[in-house]
Symmetry: C2
Subunit: 752 residues, 2 copies
Amino acid sequence: MRGPVTGDPLDRSRFPVDPWALRERRYEAADLGTTETLFSVGNGYLGLRGNVEEGRDSYAHGTFINGFHETWPIRHAEEAFGFAKVGQTIVNAPDAKIMRLYVDDEPLLLSVADLEEYERSLDFRSGVLTRELVWRTPSGKRVHLRSRRMVSLAERHLAVMDYEITLLDADAPIAVSCQLLNRQDGQDEYHVKDAAMGSGFDPRRAANLSGRVLQPSVAWEGDGRTVLGYRVATSGMTLAVAADHSIETTDAHEELTSVEDDLAKHVFRISGTRGTTTRITKVVSYHTSRGVPAVELVDRCRRTLDRVRDTGIEPVLQEQRAWLDDFWARSDVEIGGEANAALQQAVRWNLFQLIQASARAEGAGIPAKGVTGSGYDGHYFWDTEIYVLPFLTYTSPSFARNALRFRHTMLDHARARAKELNQHGALYPWRTINGEEASAYYAAGTAQYHIDADISHALTQYVTATGDTAFLGREAIDILVETARLWADLGFWRETAGAGEVFHIHGVTGPDEYTAVVNDNLFTNVMARANLRSAVRHLRALQERDGEAYARVLTRLELDEAEIDELSRVAEGMHVPFDDNLGIHPQDDDFLSKEIWDLANTPPDKRPLLLNYHPLVIYRHQVLKQADVVLALFLQGDEFTLEEKLANFEYYDPLTTGDSTLSAVVQSIIAAEVGYGELAEGYFTSAVYVDLADLHRNADAGVHVASLGGVWNALVSGFGGMRDYRGSWTFDPRLPADWESLTYRLTLGGAV
Amino acid sequence: MRGPVTGDPLDRSRFPVDPWALRERRYEAADLGTTETLFSVGNGYLGLRGNVEEGRDSYAHGTFINGFHETWPIRHAEEAFGFAKVGQTIVNAPDAKIMRLYVDDEPLLLSVADLEEYERSLDFRSGVLTRELVWRTPSGKRVHLRSRRMVSLAERHLAVMDYEITLLDADAPIAVSCQLLNRQDGQDEYHVKDAAMGSGFDPRRAANLSGRVLQPSVAWEGDGRTVLGYRVATSGMTLAVAADHSIETTDAHEELTSVEDDLAKHVFRISGTRGTTTRITKVVSYHTSRGVPAVELVDRCRRTLDRVRDTGIEPVLQEQRAWLDDFWARSDVEIGGEANAALQQAVRWNLFQLIQASARAEGAGIPAKGVTGSGYDGHYFWDTEIYVLPFLTYTSPSFARNALRFRHTMLDHARARAKELNQHGALYPWRTINGEEASAYYAAGTAQYHIDADISHALTQYVTATGDTAFLGREAIDILVETARLWADLGFWRETAGAGEVFHIHGVTGPDEYTAVVNDNLFTNVMARANLRSAVRHLRALQERDGEAYARVLTRLELDEAEIDELSRVAEGMHVPFDDNLGIHPQDDDFLSKEIWDLANTPPDKRPLLLNYHPLVIYRHQVLKQADVVLALFLQGDEFTLEEKLANFEYYDPLTTGDSTLSAVVQSIIAAEVGYGELAEGYFTSAVYVDLADLHRNADAGVHVASLGGVWNALVSGFGGMRDYRGSWTFDPRLPADWESLTYRLTLGGAV
């Protein structure tokens, strides 16, 4: 196991403790990639990385719109039947963050600027990113600058930003160039440097697209408004972005506008006088679609902008504050005790980024990096259901419902994929944007059939917590039944000595990707069993509640009583392997017969293992990328005794590298349950700081959304001891010694 | 199991029985791809597909030089550490076969020509491909044509061809355009149609190269000689081809020569008169190199051609005949009985193509398609060692030695690859041309570690049969030791109830590619044990024979007595799984616990399975692409009782699809041994006609070299009952009922 982090890993002279904001007091160019991620603002639909207003220096420019992607044919070096065909990559949307500043015609460039004061702050209650600094220009004039940036949580398509400039010493000409810049295809192309990655590749990062991606279809300006519209070359998606510009100043000024295919500029030239504060405001709207012509999207942008033009941005800021007040009132987690202020800040940053990743995803999933980076190509994984949805279900159930409805829209794709894989029912893609399997390495992708059970788990949890049986009966039951069908067809019955006929599931990969394509993966079998049981239970409940609706479901799904009985029989016949000698559950049939990886003697420069060893070498050993059995102990906790949990944790924990950020939070939860309090704290710290302290050295590619969600789980279910088993909620808190209290809020019952 | 073929599958009105030739009496365009393969001529270095002299119609033009390849970076859709990096693809060398004929300016085009007579014949004793036909031109003039083509077995770099033209009815202008044409990059580009393949891909075929591959560096003509020279763009290999042209006629004629980068033409224009026979001769030489400038290769071509210019082609034809007389004297296999003439012909075609694939390979391996096609990219696999080398070892040991020396030249590459895969010793690439692993799908490639044991097996067999201990001590022992080291490091000891410490090998793929990455694959373990034992045995023998040489080997390999003892201990501790219930050897640890594939209910349009099911679906079931345990029963036959062989055969045979052509020959051998005589015959027929009757519908991509070699094995070891176990040869023949006799020849003892 990777040694859990202890203590506060942040440099507090640079990032002072503040329970309600992430603040930065010193500009540093060395870790731009990370801080761009940390200071991202977004709403789950639109995300703006924390790039500086000036447009440079930058590590990775990023403006991401959830689900706005390009497709490309996956070329396999060696092709085989059923391999994923359609690659999907999130597109870097035109950059509207740019407000370049010139004083005496000299550009502000933070990396070389003489800064007398500097602070950047992301406020968790106002939802605004603010930068304030005093710049001493090359000619010695001091300029006070304050800029703000916000993506509206209340208005899905809206972002606002402003820039205040005050000359402190002397008059000077000022220019501010407000731009919309297509970086995806322009010269200033988006590019993640991978200097940190020695081995020259990193499968966790995004594939590059080649050729022009955004094809210009609209370029327009007038009345201080600039507009660009595009069509994505192959996927056919469309986008429009529009910006309104305004100025408040007593100084003389002029405005110039120009628009080209990849660049719209609105420039303010001000004859700045000492002491005068000039304020420039830029209001931006993005609209995207799967195929509506961009000109129509321009109309939508116009409507969004017109509303703000009428009122100014103050109401927008107030609305944001109110939205977040509401959010914190139902979602905050408080750790009691003065000594825990730093941790409190980290926890709130996690929760704030979590809601920024998910609030307005709506017709889309929640990407592994939210809308803060292009890591993992902007794809949706099981991260959403297992790591993020518990938080949404228990604090913002309507957002959880949206995420589950999105899976329902993908059901036909999942049915087709099951068929292609020779199975009945539905098989959800391991990674996707548009519903098609995009995992090019099936052993750690398509083979993770457990995605079906994960979705069903989240769905069951949502329905149980909210009582939203209407959604269940109308749509969601289809997911439960089709995934249950997959399991019944995928596995098979085999006579087992002493146990009669037992149901086995072969040839699957569990959550732990350091073992692939195995038989009877414990996690998969246990989760599949729960999937099957949930389908049967909810069918029976529906039958009792509303016979007509039940009949409609049977018809819609071509389902009959015999098949429902069979699903039940499969669930109860499911093989759950157990090793009597060790008193533990083998991760799979073969796991315990493998050679044990010598982690103690694996040098740090050989970590993470996936970047330093051939999969064959890794798969041959007992070594885990991430919790697998231990995750089952949490999600299906009432299926295991405490003694089993303890034995399993003690066996697997030392074999777990934590090379995945999905691991520490789970290890923390079970460590807390089985009595390893210090370990629980250590893993929790590793999770809560994974991005803030860049512990996995890839925060530059975006926040780790699963870890953000896992942090909430670790707080509520780990230290907070909350468990929910089919409508019964229990609480058995195990607080760290120096936590005076832990307060969390849950929303239960009451369908949304 | 695929039903074995019974009876004679050839249309004898078109392909008449002839024990010493393959003859074709009717031209057909429908199966051009197959007949181009069947009528190929080659010598293991140079191969010319049976394309018509006219250059069209053609299914796949092909001129292949063993090992002459281009490289390209393998792009994996999802990259991982240690994945193969360097793609290698055999290049279609400039085509020297072309002698286009025009009478009255009308081109001969067989697919539309009015043919009064037609016969094509590949003679196994003269080694010459002859075509003879009478063409009635559009204007009604009949022309008698006879052409011959031969690749010299005695002169590695030489091919000769001639064309005789006789106007039977009337005078007419005749033109013959003799060409050297770069088809790899020209407009008339080589392209295998894949109409037969419904699913749009076939991993058994070659990857395509894009961009110009052959970069022109020489283009010259003079004195009836044309020369072209090239450098391969990325691999840097070089090639020169030169042709001499001469004419014998009493008719008036002129000659015109032109040379461009991709085309050299030497045209004869003849004022043809009725009754006169005009003969045009083209003598061609190819030289290739890993990097010598093409101009230097031109000199080599010149020397080869000058020798023939002095003597004419008659001595070349005689030399060919003498070479083949010698070959048949030591290699022929005769099946007694009039009724078996057709089978006799098929057997000889197999042996003839086998020697055409291997005789002059020399510094190269023996590609899976010989030099008859670009299937499998021209790569070398284990096919050479397991399927072809027994034939060479027992009939042409010096060719076997060349093939094994080629593996020795790759040893450093294999050492580097072992290191990359985290192991000591040497790991040979599953598929390669230049020594680097080129298998882009590791589960059915790199994971086939058994390649190491296969090479050692062939080496051991060669040394035992020939007594060539000099080669062993000087070079080959290094292979035995380095591969043995790989096994000792790859596996591990585990306490096993009742058996003490047992040695296990995990995470490998056996010969059967319908199961991948398993633990304790029986074939691998048994072959690895033999590998380890052979290394120790030959070290000990060397120590006894020549203490100084032994000491040199220890120094060279940094080997000591303790390590040799450890190799021995590993061999004797090797786990050989056995299932007491079934009385059989499980193919691997998990095999018997899998669901059984329902082959009986798998429709023909879903065969072969690999083109119709995702690997995950196939791997999940008990179903075999090819013999696995059953192959071990043959290669390590003295390690199994007859009872075990019978039980294993009866268990695995019904599960074996035979989707690989490497399977039938092995099934035939063991069927013969365990008493399934009819099955043995059926499998043998399936193998001997695999190309002749295009049973796998991919003969167009080239001959199946492993099957060619397997046919000899099935004759000699199957029906002939020959076994060789460490220097003891036994013979226990089991002839089919209607075979009056079976005669085969072996060369034993006497180092080459």
